[in-house]
């Protein structure tokens, strides 16, 4: 039970459905940016997406090959561990189900890796079943570099640091391995509805 803050009332938004706001989050209309380092600028000609690790042969897609795959447009709410939530964001990209369709693996975990060296980990079952995408457009426009373009992972049911910016591939793993923020005190799984912000939550 938190101590009461004397004379605090708060500024609650009345236009947002409280059932859509995880505990401790507030709704913003902006799109804040959180990154640990400089924004990489990757030319599309040298971009590729690779699935590797616990798999017989790594598989790769060029930018053009990714664009040729069936795409989906997803409208979803996103929740950042820094407390903001943004409702009804619209993304376009390729479902990870499509990319993992032909992959035979015994792995139970994936580590997404990105330009700039960023990594994040999640259970494979959170990356499949219509829950995760490689997104390359936001609001119908190409994804801006500061928001993770040319392409980022989109895993909206977990805190947004799991939606790795500048993603370049997935490492399939038999054992879980903490990613970048997960190694710096953030929660290993990161479910916003259970408010799993930091290690130990």
């Amino acid at each position: 039970m938190s101590p009461l803050s004397r004379a605090f009332r708060g500024r609650r938004r009345s236009d947002a459905d409280p059932a859509r706001i995880p505990p401790g989050q507030y709704v913003t209309d902006d799109f804040p940016v959180l990154s640990a380092g400089p924004t990489p600028h990757r030319p599309l000609e040298t971009w590729s997406f690779t699935i590797q690790g616990s798999i017989d042969e790594p598989v790769s897609w060029t930018w053009e090959q990714l664009q040729a795959l069936p795409s989906e447009t997803i409208t979803t709410d996103i929740h950042c561990v820094t407390k903001w939530s943004k409702l009804d964001t619209v993304w376009t990209g390729v479902s990870l189900d499509t990319l993992l369709d032909d992959v035979e693996t015994s792995a139970e975990y994936v580590t997404a890796f990105s330009d700039g060296g960023y990594t994040t980990n999640l259970p494979l079952e959170d990356a499949t079943g219509g829950k995760a995408w490689i997104a390359y457009a936001f609001d119908g426009e190409p994804l801006a570099p500061e928001h993770g373009g040319p392409a980022r992972l989109l895993v909206p049911h977990l805190y947004f640091w799991k939606s790795a910016k500048w993603v370049r591939g997935l490492e399939l793993r038999n054992e879980d391995e903490p990613g970048f923020w997960e190694s710096y005190g953030y929660h290993n799984y990161g479910d916003p509805w259970r408010e799993q912000r930091y290690a130990g939550d």
Partner: protein, 233 residues
Amino acid sequence: MIELIEETAEATSIVLDLPDRQRHRAGQHVDVRLTAEDGYEAQRSYSIASAPEDAYLVLTVERLDDGEVSPYLVDTLRPGDELELRGPIGGYFVWEEVLGGPLLLVAGGSGVVPLRAMLRHHQAVGSTIPVRLLYSVKSLDDVIYRDELMGMAADDEIDVRLTLTREQPEGWRGYARRIDQELLADVAWPPSEGPLTYVCGPTSFVEVAANALVGLGHDPGRIRTERFGPTGG
């Protein structure tokens, strides 16, 4: 809470005496949680402005007119009130002497707060690692910790450069524009010296600064950033 210090028209330091205080690392932040009588809660993150060695924990808060937490902290909170904190949080945007240098700190506006913690820590441990602070701010009146920073600049190891982007006093001979690659080339350590760089400020500021440093040949892996979103305060 034991004291409020008005640093500038927009920034106020909140001095906290914490029971069971956990030692933080310079650059880390805490989460502040406010709870209303009906159980409604609001949380925000604030950078720690004090050094781990300081007697009290200090947060410097920029008051956002349309904010939910910062106006409460600045206008309503009174000495003697309790504040619920969580932390310290964050293990990447921190500087300790073992990480070495030379150190380049680049601040935009209230982005100076965690960098000030690093500077105070640098002084507290008597570090001989050379530091340059580049601080971009609207006017001299908006410089947070002005006297303290000017005092630090007297230290042989610490060099402080201001750029006043909107308004300059008469006879101002320092920089008077938004940061760009040329300005950073002027102030930054040469890439060949392998500086360790921390950039903190609004998103657009951090993008410009970090991109310019990478463009000048700095190793992206040695540039650590912290961005304040438009609602990040």
